[in-house]
Symmetry: C2
Subunit: 294 residues, 2 copies
């Protein structure tokens, strides 16, 4: 839905490296605050600038939780501020934390990322993400609490099915004794758990992370997960090409979200332009290339 | 080493539910702070009391990161304070976050949990955990950055190999086409990556999370991972029995760490005693039962 409104399937990955922020993000002149505070302010400035530069071409941001966690409590405050800024500009928020655990622990993760929790001390707000990535290694009972919490909050989950890294071959690509690969089995879990959460768009609230680096598997993935939104990382820096991703969009344009981080934020290293201008151009290029597919 | 010093293999799981804290943890009388602050103070008081009551019988604490993350920035501050308190009492800290990601993202998670990071703004401290749980679904290249960072910090990682939940059968127990189960394959990664990190104790800095609920697999797990420390969750509430865990201790007492959360913190519901007294008694019972195994 948001994809139609914004005419974009591009997800801006936010992966801020404190050692490689955009010029202008540095706030050391602001005083004698501890390093973690200075780093937090700089990361917030960087992410805001990156979002402002590219928002028009994007449908969502995807913060890497690790980069914020690195700053502990400060990082979580910055993450909340970044998410709020993106929402103000009409962007969805995809929390990329790849959490996975069981039972009450999974529920706590989900409450933190989605709608928060009612406590005896009053309501504690969550991050209010629209989607979150979830690791299904521990099995169905490790995924269900995330699906339940997301559904209650009007949000969705994206299960890791076949990731974009070379090491995915070590585990996700293993062939199973009773046929198919492990990732195909994980795709089955996506399809099964998503069945009860199919909206008017025809897409369910349980999607899949599927590496753009293995486009040869995409048609099979779509066959196994007909109603799932695919989050497609690995375009650009990791070698994935947009034009190979057509099968992802079989259920409609919102069936695939193309995620890019460094190819947008570091575009100025290639073009020599101002970082914001270069990022805007690259995000728009990616938007057009993806939109043309479906 | 710490196991010998403290004569304990018991890990106190910290899984604080804001709705079920020990009496006396409630700090609402302290004023009009926002709910998240009150919940944070209460969780800190609860965890400190639980640690104080059981420290003598334990070798480590194992905070569930999810429960702290639920309180966002406040939760991370509380987590740091809980870890510091445990360290003051001579306990190790096992960060149970089950993180898993690749490349720079994995490194950021590891820096957050272990030794922190040098930034242009100065040094940002990490949680300084002694061990952290890691999810290996994404393969070897998703685990290596954690191992590297842990090794540099004199810490260790614990890979999820066969978890204690029923759903583990959905994925971890799958039989592979070329023989063995997925968890056996994951055990191979543990053994391989740990080879370069075997200390004087004969144990490596890459261990495994192995459910005490499947003791029938323990001998095989030990065969595949001869030098790995096993973190054994699932005793008590989940049905695992200490007396079935003997194979874990084949390389010595420190080869197995028995983790218990609710069976300790909720012991008073069974005995009717004061929570601290009941927790102490249960932790000491578990310490003795485990120590007696060898």
């Amino acid at each position: 839905m948001r994809v139609q409104e914004r005419q974009s399937q591009v997800v801006l990955g936010l992966d801020p490296d404190p050692s490689a922020l955009w010029p202008g993000s540095d706030v050391r002149a602001q005083g004698d605050a501890p390093p973690v505070q200075l780093a937090g302010m700089a990361i917030l400035a960087h992410c805001r600038a990156l979002i402002d530069a590219t928002a028009e071409a994007c449908v969502a941001i995807k913060p890497q939780l690790a980069r914020f966690e690195l700053l502990g409590a400060v990082g979580w405050t910055v993450l909340g501020a970044v998410a709020a800024h993106a929402r103000e500009l009409g962007l969805l928020v995809i929390a990329d934390g790849k959490r996975g655990d069981i039972d009450v622990t999974a529920r706590a993760y989900a409450q933190a990322l989605f709608g928060g929790v009612e406590t005896p001390f009053g309501e504690v707000a969550g991050l209010d993400a629209n989607m979150a990535t979830v690791n299904p290694l521990m099995g169905r009972d490790a995924v269900e609490p995330f699906v339940t919490a997301a559904r209650a909050a009007g949000a969705g989950v994206l299960l890791l099915v076949r990731t974009s890294n070379p090491g995915a071959a070590d585990v996700e690509d293993l062939e199973l004794a009773d046929g198919g690969s492990l990732w195909e089995r994980l795709a089955g879990i996506v399809d099964e758990l998503g069945g009860a959460g199919v909206g008017e768009s025809g897409l369910s609230d349980v999607g899949a992370v599927f590496g753009a680096t293995v486009p040869n598997h995409l048609a099979r993935a779509r066959e196994l997960m007909g109603q799932a939104t695919f989050l497609l990382p690995g375009v650009g820096a990791q070698g994935g090409r947009v034009e190979d991703l057509a099968p992802a969009f079989a259920p409609g344009r919102a069936g695939g979200l193309v995620s890019a981080s460094r190819s947008i934020s570091n575009a100025h290293f290639l073009t020599g332009e101002d970082p914001a201008q270069a990022a805007r151009t690259e995000a728009e290029r990616l938007r057009e290339a993806t939109w043309a597919l479906g």
